[in-house]
Structure formats: C-alpha cells, structure tokens
C-alpha cells in the first residue's frame, strides 16, 4: 500500500496523544491496516479480458463467464459505482463454491446448465452470448419466487444472489465506492448525535 509508513507514524502519534498518563506499554502494538478514509484503489475495469484470464479453482472458464454475466446483472455498474465484475465477484464465487459441499456444487452445476437450456430454448443462444436485456429477462423470471424458491433455477438464483451480495459488499469497491463507508478508522472522540430533532422532547 502506498502510504503505509506515513500511516504507521500517524497512528503512533495518535496513540501517544490519547494516552495521557505515564507511558503505556500495553504489550500489543497497533496493527497498520488501511489508511484513514477512502483507500487508494486500483481502477478495476469490468473487462472481459480480465474475466477470461482468471484461472478458476472449481468452475470451467465458460462457467466463469456465465457467473460473471449473472452476478454483474444482479449488482451492475451504475452512475455511482462499479458493479460485481469490477469487484471480481466471480472470483469470490468460484472460491466459495470450490469449498462448498456436494449439495451446493450440484445446485450450481444444475442451475447453470438449466439457465443455458432456458436461454437456448428462447433465443437459440447460450446465456453468456445473450445481450444483457435477455439475461435480465431470464433473471426476472427465475427470481419471481425469490422468497419461496422451488425449481432448481429459482434456488440457483437465491444462491448466486447471496454470494454476489456477500462478495460485492465485502469488496473495496462495494465498501468504499458504493456505500462510502466511513468507519474502521480511529477517532479521538465519538461525538454522538447533535440533532435536536432526533432527541426526546426534554432533551432539545
């Protein structure tokens, strides 16, 4: 990380400022983690070449393309932030299913092949070849029963959405660019609410 040494110094100074009393040897030194505030992020494009250059642990390269298409339709890029592919969610999904049990693996295999079959029946193309609008139409259909999934493609939707959400919102893009998360840093004081309108009447 670029500014690591500067951050290490600033954390030590912060710790000294907070200590007040005679030297604190707590026996645990502070770990350097991320710089305060937003990270210096490498620009990660949603690049098809990048996806095809990923060496999968479990799925085939073709299946990675399919997973990338679906997860990026679930959490797409918008005006505000990049989407699942830029956050390399397909890599996360591959790693997670690779260590999943047999039932989970079977669901993913059957789910992907079922989606391909549905796409070929409709549009004479495999899922990965369909334009985004067609992929989304298929996802709308299989997500209709999201709260009570029954068919294999419905259960598969729930599974891939779950892992897409987990992977995206645990990525640097999801945490910092999309949600603009301000925490996991250090404050000398925690100021609390100062909005009179939030407080009980006797507290304004």
């Amino acid at each position: 990380m670029a500014d690591e040494s500067a951050d290490r110094v600033s954390r030590r100074e912060l710790l000294k400022a907070m200590t007040g009393s005679a030297g604190v040897a707590v026996g645990l030194r502070m770990l350097v983690s991320c710089p305060l505030g937003a990270t210096t992020l490498a620009k990660v494009p949603a690049d098809p070449a990048k996806i095809s250059s990923y060496a999968p642990k479990y799925f085939s390269s073709r299946q990675i393309q399919e997973i990338a298409a679906i997860s990026d339709a679930i959490i797409p890029a918008d005006e505000h932030s990049p989407g699942a592919n830029a956050a390399r969610v397909y890599e996360f999904i591959d790693e997670m299913v690779a260590i999943g049990d047999e039932d989970e693996k079977r669901l993913w295999q059957e789910g992907l092949s079922t989606l391909n079959r549905l796409a070929r029946n409709r549009w004479d193309k495999d899922l990965a070849e369909c334009p985004r609008e067609q992929q989304e139409a298929l996802l709308r259909e299989i997500s209709r029963n999201e709260e009570h999934p029954e068919k294999v493609e419905e259960q598969f939707f729930v599974a891939i959405k779950r892992l897409t959400v987990d992977g995206y919102y645990r990525s640097d893009i999801g945490i910092h660019q999309d949600l603009n998360y301000q925490g996991n840093t250090m404050l000398l004081e925690f100021d609390g609410c100062d909005h009179g309108s939030h407080k009980a009447e006797d507290q304004h």
Binding site: P76, I99, E146, R170, Q182, N184, H198, A200, E201
Partner: protein, 540 residues
C-alpha cells in the same frame, strides 16, 4: 521444572481466573495459573483488517483469532436432544476477555431472589448487598463506562464518562420516552478516558475482534502484568487440565495436565484449587475427575455437577429509520453498542404469560456490511440503489432475555468418545422451554412496536426462534447453601472438597437477562478474599 507445591492453582485464565490469580498473588499467595491455550499475539488477530484483505473476503472466519479455536477443542463436543444452540469455548491466555464486547451490568437485588420474589427456581445464597462492594472494586480496578440512572433493576456503578448516543439511538430513545421506557448509555469495561495505564477507546467499531490498544479490559493486558509484578505468580500455558487428583482424605492435591504440544503429562500440586473454565469445561473437568471416593465425579455428591445449564435467549431485529435513510454516510462505528434499554416488564403493569425479563442492546452488529442486501427482493440498479439508500438508516436492535434454569438442561461426559488427548468429551443437552419462547416472542413484539414508533421504514424480522444461548452459558455448578441442592457455597467453595473452588458463570444459581461477566468478576474478587483468609488461617 522443580517440583513445587503452590498455594493456589487456578485453572482457566479468563476473567474469573485472571482476576482471581492477580488478587491472590497480590495477597501474598504463590499462584500458578494453568491455561490450555497459548498467549495470542497481534498477528493472531484481525483487528482492523478489511474483508477484502482476507481469504474468502473474510467469510470463512469469524474475525477472532483462529488459533484460539483449534479443532482439538471445537470438535470435542456433542449435542444430544438439543435445540440448535452453540456453546462458546476457547483456548487462549485471557479466555474470552481477549475479544469480548465488554458489557458490564450489575445484577439487581431481585435477580438473586427469584424464588422469594417470583416463586420460581431458587434464591442465591448471596444477596446484592453482599456482592455490591465487589462490583465496585471491579469497576474501580478495570474502568467501566456508564451513567448514573437510579434504576433498581440495573444498579449504578462507579463509572467513567458514558458513551454518547448515535442519531439512531437518540431516535429510538425518543420513541421509548413516548412509551414510558428508558434508554440509557450502555455499560462496558471500555475506557472513555485514560485509566489503569491504558489508553481510551478509539472508536474503531471492532471490539469483538479484539482491542488492539487495550481500551477494553482483558486479562493479558490488565491483570497479568500486575500479577507478574508481585513475584508470586506463574503462568503455565499450553497445558490442558485432564483431571484433578485427590488425596486419602478426599482433598484436592494436584491437577493432572497434558501439554497440548508434546502430549507430556505432569502433575501440578497446590494447597488450593480454583476451576475457572466456563460452564461447559468446568463440569467436564469435575465429572472426569473420578476416584473411589468420588465415583460420580469430583464435588458431585449432589449429582448436580453439569445440571441447570442456562444462558440468554436472544434475537436480532434490523431496522432502517426514515429520518436517517438517504443521508450522507457518517462514521457510526463507535464502540459497537452505545445504548441499552434495561428491563421494564417487571413494572409496566402489563399481564404476561411468562416470568423473567429481557433488555435490548442496540448496535453491536457493526456498520460495515449492509444486512438489508441479503433481505431485499430483486436485483439490478434499483436493488443496488435501495441498499445504498437504506444503509445510513441502519439500527440493530437485539432483545436479550432470561432462560429458566432447569435441571434437565445439562452437561455430561461420554467416556466412549474422547478428544485428541484421550479425555472424555462434554455432551450438551439443552432445550428451551415454553417460558423462554414466550418471553422472546414478547420481546420481539415490543421491539417492533418501539421501532414502528421510531418510524422504521423497514424492519427485518428474524422470526421467533431463539438464536442459541448468546455465549452466556452459566449454571452448571450452581451455588447454594444446601449441599444436596448445590455444588458450591456462597464463596464458590465446593461443599464436598474444602480446598476446591469453582469461580465461573457455572456457579450462578439462576441467571437473569443481564450479561454475566461483571458478576463473574465480582465473584472472583469475593472468592479471592475468602480464599486468602482461609489460606492464612492454615498458617501458609
């Protein structure tokens, strides 16, 4: 190592054993503290690590030191005929104090008198008035943040300045006030100013990953250095207690330990012993310490070692407040939960079909991950934008309630199933009863009412199932004055073996809705004073 007979051998280095050891060492006793785990180093923790810096984006580990949860321990347990619960055991110097959330609540006077006041369970052989000086001593020793509130149901302590409420907590408080309920700053063994030679909290929101600056009380940071300074203290780590050996007179004479690395066995001898291993491992050790004099396990003439396992019934409501959604993100992390709604169901006049109380703890779930993303329907841009829109309005609202102490909920051991060291494993049998479930349902109903009044735009409801025991397992070597109905007396001394003590949540006669550790620490102080006096009487 030269053969030594220590004055006191303490087994288990969590808050109970850590405080007990330090107090006894300071009183002049030669103390050995035996711990199965090792000392954790900063490299074992992930204090501030971002999920994307971890394998599987952090999905395969709980954020707590994996080294403290080796499979030799975690796999050495079986549940039988149980509701889905998990019990929390670990091996590390400092025990769970190295990554706890540090909530410290004094029990109320009525919490010691369930039988007299509510006609249920049993009274403790100990009153609040007797324990209050020990609560004070602990608070002054370790530093506890809180505010003076004058509530009988939650006695005040000696506090450092209170945590400040977040916007979401002020809004909930506003709703509570309309309903005649109190919401107060919570109480934690967390420093809001420098104290005990430790720096104050830096509000990084990762308390339960371990506190890298020592602002949260932990045994390794706050107790062991003081114990070491006395010259009377020896820490023996990496050694698992297998059984306690007794002499011809039926007194404890040694603990047989196994080095978890070399598998070498040795005896550690002492004049007094204190088992401080939590509510699962403590009865396990006693039940595995059989002898001709104690065929059913050590200190078990009552047959009650392992019985009366309790904990807290808890759940989680996730809500998104109308006044906060869509606002610019702020750093809300703080010290996890800043707010507490103490028990109120004993005095609001409503009729209920259950006994016992519950409180609510707000915002200890953390603010990084958008939980609503796993619950909102749909996908695509609108889904993503809704997730982002809701996130600033997030409030986590968790009821914590009393579980009745019932004899049939228990820990036994199975000699036919042994761990990696040949020690019979604990078998846990636990079922919630209808009272526990009715209490939880009521807490969720009132919780939803509060959140509606606070203008929650969305409430994610987990359903009525209890989420396990909340890591607050207690009750399995219960305290009482009748040796036929209890295992230890009010000084945590076993009835059967006068030089054997048990200091742990396992001693709780009954267990209310409040977190257990403050009372465990107070009992450790009380026991230390009694044990020191006993030891002096015998001219040590």
């Amino acid at each position: 190592m030269p053969i030594t007979t220590y004055d006191v051998c303490v087994i288990g280095s969590g808050p109970a054993g850590g405080i007990l050891s330090k107090e006894l060492a300071e009183a002049g006793a030669k103390v050995v503290l035996v711990e199965a785990g090792r000392t954790m180093t900063p490299q074992d923790f992930h204090y501030h690590t971002w999920p994307y810096e971890l394998p599987y984006r952090g999905m395969r580990e709980g954020g707590q030191p994996a080294a403290a949860y080796p499979k030799e321990l975690t796999q050495a347990l079986r549940y039988e005929d149980s509701d889905p619960i998990g019990v929390d055991r670990m091996w590390a110097v400092g025990g769970r104090s190295i990554h706890w959330n540090a909530v410290c609540l004094r029990f109320a006077a009525r919490d010691f008198r369930e039988r007299s006041l509510a006609g249920i369970e049993e009274d403790w052989p100990l009153s609040y008035e007797e324990l209050a000086p020990c609560y004070s001593y602990v608070e002054k020793m370790i530093g506890v943040t809180g505010s003076e509130e004058n509530l009988d149901i939650l006695p005040d302590g000696e506090f450092l300045p209170p945590l400040k409420l977040r916007c979401s907590e002020e809004i909930i408080k506003r709703a509570c006030t309309k309903m005649g309920l109190r919401l107060i700053p919570t109480r934690k063994a967390l420093l809001t100013q420098p104290y005990d030679d430790r720096p104050p909290c830096h509000y990084c929101g990762h308390c339960m990953r371990g506190c890298d600056v020592g602002a949260i009380f932990s045994v390794p940071v706050s107790m062991l250095p003081k114990a070491q300074k006395t010259g009377n203290f020896t820490l023996v780590s990496g050694k698992l207690a297998r059984e306690i050996l007794v002499d011809q007179e039926g007194k404890a004479r040694a603990v047989l330990v196994i080095d978890t690395g070399t598998r070498k066995e040795e005896e550690i001898r002492a004049r007094f012993f204190a088992i401080c291993c939590g509510a699962i491992e403590t009865p396990r050790l006693l039940l595995n310490s059989r002898s001709p004099r104690f065929p059913n396990g050590l200190a078990n003439s009552s047959g009650l070692v392992g019985c009366y396992l309790t904990g807290n019934v808890s759940s989680t409501l996730l809500a998104y407040l109308e006044e906060l959604v869509g606002t610019p993100p702020v750093n809300n992390d703080g010290a996890l939960d800043h707010a507490l709604i103490p028990r109120f169901n004993h005095q609001d006049g409503k009729k209920r079909d259950y006994v016992g109380g519950f409180d609510y703890q707000l915002n200890y779930a953390g603010f990084m991950f958008p939980y609503q993303a796993q619950k909102l329907k749909g996908f695509g841009k609108e889904f993503k934008q809704e997730v982002r829109f809701l996130q600033p309005g997030f409030v986590h609202f968790a009821p914590w309630g009393k579980v009745l102490a019932r004899r049939e909920n228990r820990v036994t051991v199975d000699p036919n199933q042994r761990d990696a060291f040949g020690i019979p494993i604990p078998v846990v049998r636990f079922r919630f009863c209808e009272n526990d479930r009715a209490l939880l349902r009521d807490s969720l109903e009132t919780g939803r009412e509060i959140l509606h009044l606070a203008k929650a735009r969305l409430i994610i409801d987990p359903g009525p199932e209890p989420l396990g025991l909340g890591s607050h397992e207690t009750g399995t070597t219960r305290m009482g004055s009748d040796p036929r109905q209890s295992v230890v007396n009010s000084f945590c001394q076993t009835h059967d073996v006068k030089n054997l003590f048990v200091v742990s949540g396992s001693c709780f006669t009954t267990y209310p809705e409040k977190n257990p550790t403050h009372t465990i620490m107070a009992l450790a102080v009380r026991t230390a004073r009694y044990l020191a006096a006993e030891a002096r009487k015998r001219n040590l």
